[in-house]
């Protein structure tokens, strides 16, 4: 087993440990456990980051060619993004019970994917691609936090049999605002990701839109988040309705970016799922 995989496993273990602590901490109202969960996961960023850097240096390109690299770097960015955001908004520490398990799942998904080294093909040698990927990761991280907030909202609004747990959670109003804000931020990043992807495609192949399945499903996801924002702002769909839609469109975004490449022939799956 090479050093990169050892570090990857170490990071995953620390996230998983953090996830367990977060769930126990929220259920049993143990503030200390929540802090430990965040600390454990934050420490996990170091070996996980190390694994990414080792690979980056070895294959001479960023972590964005195959599914292993994509899931690994997405998990790292989401974890880092969440760590920074919860420092600013302390009540979001409770969302760790949802966010950390999702990050562990992403790491597991990465482990199950092929991790073989793929050298950078000429079509992917572009600054546009790097920007495209940065915004893809930022939008995934934003949607993950809005999903976490929505899941907690739904749990809290339904959890009459376990009041001690729901007491630990932020107020419904705060969760509702976070669902909305991170959907809006994610929508902005998603918009820019699609725009940059289109410019890159035009620069590389002379077509800015080819109705490639992942392109099309990104547009479907964009329309879905756009619809959410319109319903929220114009029809005042807040609270439970907003949370339910968020969970549904988060599922749609996962389908678009991580599952469609497996089922449909797309330029995005050329290296991603091999």
């Amino acid at each position: 087993m090479n050093f990169e995989i050892v570090l990857y496993w170490l990071g995953t273990t620390l996230y998983a440990f953090g996830g367990i602590l977060a769930i126990v901490g929220v259920v049993f109202k143990k503030e200390k456990l929540l802090s430990l969960a965040i600390a454990s996961s934050a420490i996990g960023l170091i070996p996980h980051g190390g694994a990414i850097i080792i690979r980056w240096v070895r294959v001479a390109h960023g972590p964005y060619i195959n599914m292993y690299e994509v899931m690994s770097s997405n998990a790292w960015v989401a974890m880092f993004f969440y760590f920074v955001i919860q420092k600013r908004f302390r009540f979001l520490v409770n969302a760790s019970a949802v966010v950390l398990p999702v990050i562990v799942l992403a790491m597991g998904f990465g482990l199950m994917s092929s991790a073989r080294d793929i050298p950078l093909p000429p079509s992917l040698k572009s600054y546009w691609l790097i920007l495209h990927i940065i915004f893809a990761k930022l939008c995934s991280a934003s949607f993950l936090i809005s999903f976490g907030s929505a899941a907690l909202y739904l749990y809290k609004s339904a959890a009459t049999n376990n009041p001690s747990f729901s007491e630990r959670l932020p107020s419904l109003q705060k969760l509702d605002v976070f669902v909305y804000k991170f959907n809006a931020i994610g929508f902005a990043f998603l918009t820019i990701m699609i725009v940059i992807g289109s410019i890159w495609a035009n620069n590389a192949w002379g077509r800015y839109w080819a109705f490639d399945p992942v392109e099309t499903w990104s547009l479907i996801t964009w329309l879905a988040y756009g619809l959410f924002l319109h319903l929220r702002l114009n029809r005042k769909w807040t609270g439970k309705r907003s949370a339910v839609i968020t969970v549904a469109i988060f599922g749609l975004s996962l389908l678009a970016f991580f599952f469609i490449p497996y089922f449909l022939k797309t330029v995005h799956s050329e290296y991603l799922v091999r």
């Binding site: 093909p121 000429p122 820019i192 725009v195 590389a204 479907i220 702002l233």
Partner: protein, 427 residues
């Protein structure tokens, strides 16, 4: 939006005619005759060009236009109200309100309040009735610009769809492309395509491929020269992600490449010759034997050629007249085959590659839309325009703050900070 999203989902699940080869479509028809008939009848096999999809997109566009005009009116109304003095109505409709008690409301206090509001980052206007502070008001243009940018993008797509021309051509080292229709394959012309003709020639001077490993190319690069009326205008290296743009045409490096045999057929009687390139099919590996066959002009004979990169100076040539073998053997570079009146010369083995060429006047409009879209969406989320009123009312100052972005629903923390600063300034 829902309808468009639904149709997009269908288009990825149902095989679309433009994406299928004739053979694939035929197989589908054989396998599922009823299904193929149904999707063909309803237009589900070419959703993006079906009248009903275009109708939905048109309704969406019309909606955008109406929305945009409404949004511009609202924004202009907001902007013009920035010139009015504070009124009780302004305070009444503010989401965040507070009352400050003062003992003496003199000019010195008003001046201090003005400085405080200004210190909080607001642009301040003083009136006899009170103070009006505005902050990041340009953010109000976020929503109109966002919707406007979508219209710009749709306009760009429409121009592109109607006037775009594109095609692919193969070219060998030393060969020239001059834009003639017969040089192009897989051409596409928009409904109103102007069929532009380049008034220049493009010559492939050198083609270079480098590999990380046999199946993984590292670099695919063409060095091309552009000539106008026989004069060299420019030389450029074209790669994937580095197209050549010249006089409205864009040339994109394809990932396909291979070997080409440069041959000449000479008429010994008239002295006339006919030279050309015969491209061997593209292969992932640059190893093994490459084969190709072609018809010799004038003679009508069929020639079969074989080439192995391990022996770069040699080529196996077989000449057939129907099934009768007229000649077969190995020919060295510079040598040839004697066919009586005609002589077939094997000049050289060079490399060929392919280029995708396009002429698209919709791109500048589309990209302008992209820029406005990206800036406006960031503005919508991160720029929060706000307005603050301080209304003098005898021994009280009524404070009202209005957040003019619907994307920002919580403002408590900043409002508390504003009130705290104001309280300090009236002490």
């Amino acid at each position: 939006m829902l309808l468009i999203a639904g149709f997009l989902v269908l288009a990825t699940l149902i095989p679309q005619k433009p994406e299928l080869t004739k053979a694939e479509y035929f197989t589908l028809k054989q396998k599922y005759p009823l299904f193929t008939k149904f999707i063909s009848f309803t237009g589900l096999d070419h959703i993006y060009t079906s009248w009903w999809f275009l109708a939905v997109v048109s309704v969406f566009t019309l909606n955008l236009v109406l929305n945009l005009t409404g949004r511009i009116k609202i924004t202009l109304r907001h902007m013009s109200s920035n010139k009015s003095p504070p009124s009780p109505d302004d305070i009444e409709r503010s989401k965040y309100r507070h009352v400050l008690d003062v003992t003496v409301l003199d000019d010195a206090l008003k001046e201090r309040l003005t400085r405080t509001v200004s210190g909080l980052g607001f642009n301040v206007k003083q009136f006899r009735e009170g103070i009006l502070g505005t902050k990041k008001m340009w953010g109000l243009w976020g929503i109109p610009l966002f919707h406007g940018s979508l219209l710009l993008i749709l306009t760009g797509i429409m121009i592109s769809g109607l006037t775009r021309f594109s095609g692919t051509f193969e070219i060998a080292e030393g060969q020239t492309f001059s834009g003639q229709a017969e040089e192009l394959i897989q051409t596409h012309y928009g409904l109103l395509a102007l069929k532009p003709k380049p008034d220049f020639q493009l010559m492939l001077r050198k083609f270079n491929v480098e590999h990380w490993a046999p199946e993984h190319p590292k670099l695919i690069q063409s060095t091309v020269d552009v000539y106008e009326e026989g004069n060299l205008i420019l030389s450029e290296k074209v790669e994937i992600n580095k197209p050549l743009k010249y006089k409205g045409f864009a040339f994109y490096q394809s990932r396909y490449f291979g070997h080409a045999a440069y041959m000449t057929l000479l008429d010994k009687v008239t002295g006339q010759s006919n030279s050309g390139y015969v491209n061997f099919p593209s292969k992932k590996h640059d190893t093994g034997v490459f084969k190709q066959s072609f018809v010799l002009p004038l003679l009508g004979y069929r020639a079969q050629i074989k080439y192995d990169p391990l022996y770069p100076e040699l080529m196996v040539i077989k000449i057939l007249n129907g099934t009768e073998v007229k000649w077969e053997g190995i020919v060295k570079k510079g040598g040839g085959v004697d066919l009586g009146r005609y002589y077939l010369r094997f000049n050289d083995i060079v490399k060929w590659t392919a280029f995708f060429v396009s002429w698209d006047k919709g791109i500048p409009v589309l990209y302008s839309g992209f820029v406005v879209l990206s800036l406006s969406v960031l503005g919508l989320v991160f720029v929060v325009p706000r307005r603050l009123w301080l209304l003098y009312n005898k021994d009280k100052i009524l404070v009202g703050v209005e957040v003019l972005s619907r994307s920002m629903e919580t403002f408590e923390e900043e409002f508390e900070k504003i009130v705290k600063s104001l309280k300090e300034s009236i002490k």
